[in-house]
Symmetry: C2
Subunit: 121 residues, 2 copies
Amino acid sequence: MPHSAINFSEKFGRFGERWSPRIVAQMNDYHFKLVKIQGEFIWHAHPETDEVFIVLDGEMTIHLRDGDVALRAGEMFVVPRGVEHKPSATGECRMMLIEPAGTLNTGDAQSDRTAADGVWV
Amino acid sequence: MPHSAINFSEKFGRFGERWSPRIVAQMNDYHFKLVKIQGEFIWHAHPETDEVFIVLDGEMTIHLRDGDVALRAGEMFVVPRGVEHKPSATGECRMMLIEPAGTLNTGDAQSDRTAADGVWV
């Protein structure tokens, strides 16, 4: 059985859509997703799970009702379950999301911003 | 409540020990650990869980019984549960481990290489 590394740059090169997470790996029942973002997302929460953001390239802000968190490459933040948040980025930001398989990008606020779930790249 | 990013470089600056994972974040019942490695580790497996390696700086190899996986910064690999593996690095490599809280670094091969579990930085 051949084994190979998952290379983030190579994976990011395979898609251009923003706010559209692509799964690159699974650990137990968790998915590791790469996503490109720019602009403002919508306020939402994930009532059933914490959600991890790791910035790989660029800068972003996670707006919370009681303060903002600025993140740049080499930084991470854990949004606790049930906590409303709104990601935004001025320029394009490339990041990793880690959350249970089946978690929707818009959480409890399904809308036209809700991306297809379960798409691998 | 103030919120702030977890900065990997800042966290790595707080400890020097190799093969001694330090927890920087928790997502549900999973821990995110930073670790510095250099040299050869021991063969072991984690019978109860997959284990994620993300290289943040430098290069490493995950030896598997049926092949090696070379990893450099910006790459990750998931060691499936129960699969024997032996990490190694020629120069110092800084990486992140993601696994369930309570997972020991030496898995089923506890020895003098077994690091204290549950240490935050």
